[in-house]
Structures are given as C-alpha cells and as structure tokens.
C-alpha cells in the first residue's frame, strides 16, 4: 500500500544492511484489475433420423451464457532513501584546541597522525610541537529530515553511534558520547553533485560526557561517499569523576574552541528531492564504493603467516578500508581517481607498507554487464609508507554487497618512507625494510558495491 502508512510504520524492513538500519523507505501501492468475461456455449443435440425443424417445430439447439468476473491484485513496491546523511566514519584534525606541546598530533584530517610514534602520547622531558592538536571522530552518523517551522528547508536531526571530541593528550579533557543528538541546517552554495554547503550545527552529548558542541562547517561532497569539511566551533562539557575518560579524582569541565579540516568516508548526502527519487534511479559518481577489500597474496617473499612454512601458497595480504573509485568524465567516463581510508599491503615477512588516503588512478573496463569488470590501476601511497603499486584487478560481482576479485601487480617503494615510523612498528610482521616485488592474489570485498556504466551519472 500506500507509502504514507509504511513510512510512519518505520520501515525497518527486511533486506540488505541499508534496510536493516532503516535507511530505506518502502512505499507500496495496490492495484486491482478486474476482468469480466462471458462464455457462450452452443449445443445441438439432434436425434438420429429425419425430423421437422423450423417455425413450427423447435430446434434442438441450446445456448448457455456464463458470465465471469475475476479480480487480481498487483502490489507495487518502491524503495527510497530514508536519510539526508549517512556516514560510516568521519574524522577531523583540529587546531587551536590546546597548546602545541599538549596536542595529540592527529595530523591532517585527524587521521594522518595515527602512525606517528608520539601520536597521543607525551614523553617526559622530550620537546614536542604538533600542528593538529585535537581531533573529532564520529562513527555511524545518521541524519534525517527535520520538518519544523512550517517545513523550513534543509534542517536535519540526527546522531552518531559514537562521537569523541579530543582537544589534547590528557584523557580527562576528551568529550565523548554514545548517540549524541545533533541539529543541523544546511545552506547550499552549490546544489549539484558535489554539493557545497555551509552547515551550522549544535550537538548534545549525553553519556559518558555531557556536553554541547556548536560548529559551522563548509562541506564539500558527497562524491562516492567521500566528503571534505572545514570546521570552526566551540565545545564545552563535563566529565564526571570516574567516567571512561576521566581517571582523576575530580570532575573535569573541558571547553575549547577549534578550527578543523575533516574527511569522511562512506558518507552519503541526499538533498530533499533525492528522498523522493527511487533508489534505482539515483545517480552514482563512483565505479566502486566499499567498506572492505581483502586479498590474500602470493609473492616471492617468505610467508608472513607461517614461519614454519615460509614457502606456503599464501605469503601476504592486501587490505583496503573504505575504498572508493570516482569516475572522471573523460575517456568515456572510464578513467577514475580513487582512494581509501587506509590501505595495507603485506608482500611477506618484513615487507609491508601502510597508506592513509592513498591516491589511485585507474581505468574501469566493464567486460560483462552487471558481472565482470577489469581495472588496471596505479596507486601511490605517500604516507606513512611511500610506495607505488601498479596492478590490475578483475572484479566479479556476486551481489550488491559481496564481490570476488583476482589481483596481479608490482609494488615498489619504502615501508618507512616518512621516516617517522619505527621499523618494527607492526611488531609480529617483522622489521620493515624496502618494499618491492610482484604479487598475485584472490580477494573478497565486503559491503562493496560495483556500479556499471548505465548507473554512472555521466552516462545518463
């Protein structure tokens, strides 16, 4: 039936993970088709022998008329997005939250500092100066339309599964909450993809910290789930004695202004008209968006999995977290530029590299519609390791959330290219040294959606 009733019921419908999180609104319409039919049956039962028929003698012919009426129903279901914004992960690198010797050193976008040896730690007597003193981290952010003030435009209300506002190394200054409630209003400067909007927001954290966070951001995105944000704001709140952030004997009341630069992945933004566009008609900017791509590799290096059997078939692995491949409107829209939140490449023991937001350029070639695609690519991981990965990936679409792949490539570079990483920073994987060699691997991608040419917005 009727979407109106369905949407008010809530729509935690069965289906994929999108539906499980109530990200899809289902509308139904019922139609009844009535067919009326009439059957005429003629029967002539003539007795053998001669007889007189005609005006005086009645004919033996009989006619039966049967009228039928059949009704069949048709239930049409339509699926729409049920959110203004849904984001899996967002991080913001903050400046101005504390003095540079006390800051966590979160790095650009709040994540590039993760691999610095002095990230979020102070060594007594050691001088320290970081630019990005704090960070904001949000997981599973959901925003839905808030239609108040006579349906005023572009208001949203939403929450994240967890949010942490970290101004400095000292834990008791961190403000964090499960399910913080946020009100946001977007002023769109550009109403085409990628959207550009100025977004004032106010958020309230409830547990374990109680706080208010007011901010204004300049948002660019989303394209293929990728967004960039420039933040300015102020946060103030309390950490009661003994809560998960506060190990001191007193209640703490941190407050701090901030400026920040953020990135978010798997972060999808819909404008209001898109809430009334069926999922199947939505425009897509990327050839591929996923949560995880994992590939087991065979290379010429000793296996990282088993020291007893270093020549086993499985020598290493490749992992991409939140990869995306954005189509570029050149070369028949097949050229793409991609990245991922993190990438890990382990060729074998002592040969591994890490990347944060690496740059990947490739060519997406669809071999078989809706099933098979080939992507030759070159990926440059510049931080914290520094290496180039030239390869090709053959993707087999199994479903909208699972894909299989075959990978072949060659990697060359340095595991500790930035000079910041200790050579044994991954412990069990051994001491890192130069990273070069060829590989072949088979992989599986989870929550990974491959799009085909007819779904790419440039092709519409």
């Amino acid at each position: 039936m009727l979407g109106i009733v369905c949407s008010s019921i809530g729509g935690c419908a069965s289906g994929g993970w999108m539906e499980t999180l109530s990200l899809t609104r289902t509308e139904e319409d019922a139609f009844t088709i009535t067919n009326r039919d009439t059957t005429f049956t003629d029967a002539v039962r003539n007795e053998p022998g001669e007889r007189d028929n005609g005006v005086i003698f009645p004919s033996s012919r009989t006619q039966t008329v049967n009228s039928f009426s059949t009704q069949r129903d048709s239930i049409v279901e339509r699926y729409y997005p049920n959110f203004i914004r849904f984001a899996v992960f967002e991080s913001v690198g903050l400046i101005g939250t504390s003095s540079s010797d006390k800051g966590i050193g979160s790095g650009m976008f709040g994540i590039t500092g993760f691999f610095d040896p002095d990230f979020a730690s102070l060594t007594k007597g050691k001088p320290r100066s970081v630019t990005f003193t704090g960070g904001i981290y949000r997981v599973l952010t959901y925003e839905t339309r808030l239609r108040w003030f006579r349906d005023a435009k572009d208001w949203t209300v939403g929450f994240s599964a967890f949010e942490a506002l970290v101004p400095e190394v000292a834990n008791e200054s961190t403000l964090g909450s499960f399910l913080p409630l946020y009100l946001r209003k977007r002023y769109y400067l550009r109403e085409q993809i990628p959207y550009i909007a100025v977004t004032p927001a106010i958020g309230f954290g409830f547990f374990p910290s109680q706080y208010v966070n007011a901010s204004v951001s300049l948002d660019v995105g989303s394209m293929g789930g990728l967004n960039f944000r420039l933040y300015g704001g102020f946060a103030a709140g309390t950490n009661s004695k003994g809560n998960m952030f506060n190990t001191t004997n007193d209640r703490t009341s941190p407050s701090f202004p901030y400026l920040g630069l953020g990135v978010s992945v798997l972060d999808f933004l819909n404008r209001v008209p898109e809430l009334y566009t069926e999922w199947k008609d939505h425009e897509h900017s990327a050839w591929d968006i996923g949560l995880l791509q994992f590939t087991l590799l065979n290379s010429g290096e000793p296996s990282v999995f088993s020291t007893k059997n270093p020549t086993s078939l499985l020598r290493g692995y490749m992992l991409r977290v939140a990869p995306t491949s954005l189509a570029l409107p050149i070369l028949d829209n097949k050229l793409y530029i991609g990245t991922s939140l993190f990438s890990v490449l382990v060729l074998g023991e002592s040969k591994y590299g890490l990347g944060v937001l690496p740059i990947r350029i490739g060519y997406w070639h669809t071999l078989l519609q809706d099933e098979l695609s080939l992507e030759p690519f070159i990926e440059y991981d510049y931080y914290p390791s520094s290496f180039a990965n030239i390869g090709a990936r053959l993707n087999l679409k199994v479903s909208n959330i699972i894909n299989l792949s075959a990978n072949v490539g060659y990697v060359n570079g340095n595991s500790i290219g930035s000079g910041l990483l200790p050579p044994d920073f991954l412990g069990d994987l051994g001491t890192a040294n130069s990273l070069s060699g060829a590989y072949f691997g088979l992989g599986i991608s989870i929550d990974d959606r491959i799009f085909f040419p007819k779904e790419i917005r440039y092709n519409r």
Binding site: I9, G10, R36, R147, F207
Partner: protein, 218 residues
C-alpha cells in the same frame, strides 16, 4: 570502575536509546504533509492523507475534516482497500470548486489522473485520462452550501452520487487503486467534512500473479 556513577547515567542513556531507535525516532519527528483521519472513529477505516501541494494549502480541521485552499492537492487512501466507497461532505466556501480523482495514485498523479469528477459552481463533468466523458450541467456547487458526494469503485464499475441522486454509472478498464485525490481549483476554498472510506473489497497480497505463480511452483 565506579559502577554507581555509571548507574546514575543509565536512565539518560536508555532515554536516548529509546528516542533514537530506528522506528521511534522517525515516528516522533514532525511530518507536516501527512495526516491521519478517522483515528477516533471505531466504525471507520483510518484514512491516510498526503499533501502533495504547497504545505500551507491544506489545513487539518478535525479528525475527518480538511480545509483546502486554492491549488491544493491531497491524496487520501486506506490500506489495501481498492474497492470502496469514498464519502465526502463538500462545502465550497469560495471560488469555483474542486475535483476528485480516483483510479490513480499519489506517486504518478501528474502523469496519470485516472478518472476525475469536477464539481464546480458552473456544473460538473467527468474525465477519463483527461478526456471528458460526461457532463452534468445541472449538478452545480453552490457557494456556502454543503453537499454530499459519494464515489463508489467496484471492479470495473464506478458510481458517482451527488446528494441522493446517482448521476453516473460507468465502467472502465483502469485498475482500481486505494486512492482518491482531492484538488481545488485556483482561488477556491473548500471544506471537506465527514470523510469516510467504506471498504468493499480489500486487495490481497496472495492474489498477485507472482504470489499465485509461487504457490503453483511450490
């Protein structure tokens, strides 16, 4: 870990969890274009209403009453009842009048208006897919006076009744739907009261061609 301190925060956490769990969070948010009628009337089916025009053009007056301003379009429907009688008491307070469209849906109303009964101060007429199929010059709305309009959809047949008079009985091949859409002419103001949908037959999800085929297969 100081459990006592955590315990103090648990009611707050539970409240937040309750409010933000998927169904409830969506339910409590304002939906200014959605209405529900006959919720307090036991004898009647609950009717869902969706304003698909300007948000200020429709005023919710009571549990089964609406005031429609000029240029408004409201879709009314009950769950799965495709064969039904729609009953309205109409008072054209200003302007030309209104029209009722049925055998259509709110989703594709712009492209497919189904059968439309136009009820105006200059006379009434019926249209099927935009073509006039019957005119009733003597059936006129009178500004300020109330009139009862009933629309019955049953199978291929539909019946128009204004007051006590059945003004038209017709047949159509357009499939029956759950909807009646009421829309006003520009500059009109119309009060709808006593809105009721009396079900005749309910569509059945087991009666779709797909469901039938699956039953045969298994």
């Amino acid at each position: 870990m100081n459990l006592k301190r955590y315990m103090k925060n648990i009611p707050l956490l539970l409240l937040v969890l309750l409010l933000q769990s998927c169904g409830l969070f969506q339910k409590i948010l304002p939906k200014p274009d959605e209405y529900s009628f006959n919720e307090s009337t036991r004898q009647s089916e609950t009717i869902a209403g969706l304003n698909i025009s300007n948000i200020d053009s429709v005023e919710y007056k009571a549990d089964n009453s609406l005031l429609l301003h000029g240029g408004s379009v409201i879709a009314l429907a009950t769950y799965l009842n495709t064969n039904f009688t729609g009953d309205f008491t109409v008072n054209v307070q200003k302007g030309r009048g209104l029209k009722f469209s049925f055998r259509t849906t709110s989703n594709n109303f712009k492209d497919n208006q189904g059968i439309t009964f136009n009820y105006t101060t200059a006379g009434s007429w019926l249209e099927e897919n935009g073509n006039v199929i019957a005119k009733f010059d003597t059936v006129r709305a009178i500004v300020g006076e109330t009139e009862r309009i009933q629309i019955t959809n049953e199978g291929t047949q539909y019946i128009m009744q204004v007051g006590c008079t059945v003004i038209y009985k017709g047949t159509t091949t357009i499939p029956a739907t759950e909807y009646i859409l009421a829309s006003t002419f520009s500059g009109s103001r119309v009060l709808l009261t006593g809105i009721d949908f009396i079900p005749i037959r309910r569509a059945d999800k087991r009666n779709t061609p797909q469901a039938r085929a699956e039953r045969v297969r298994w």
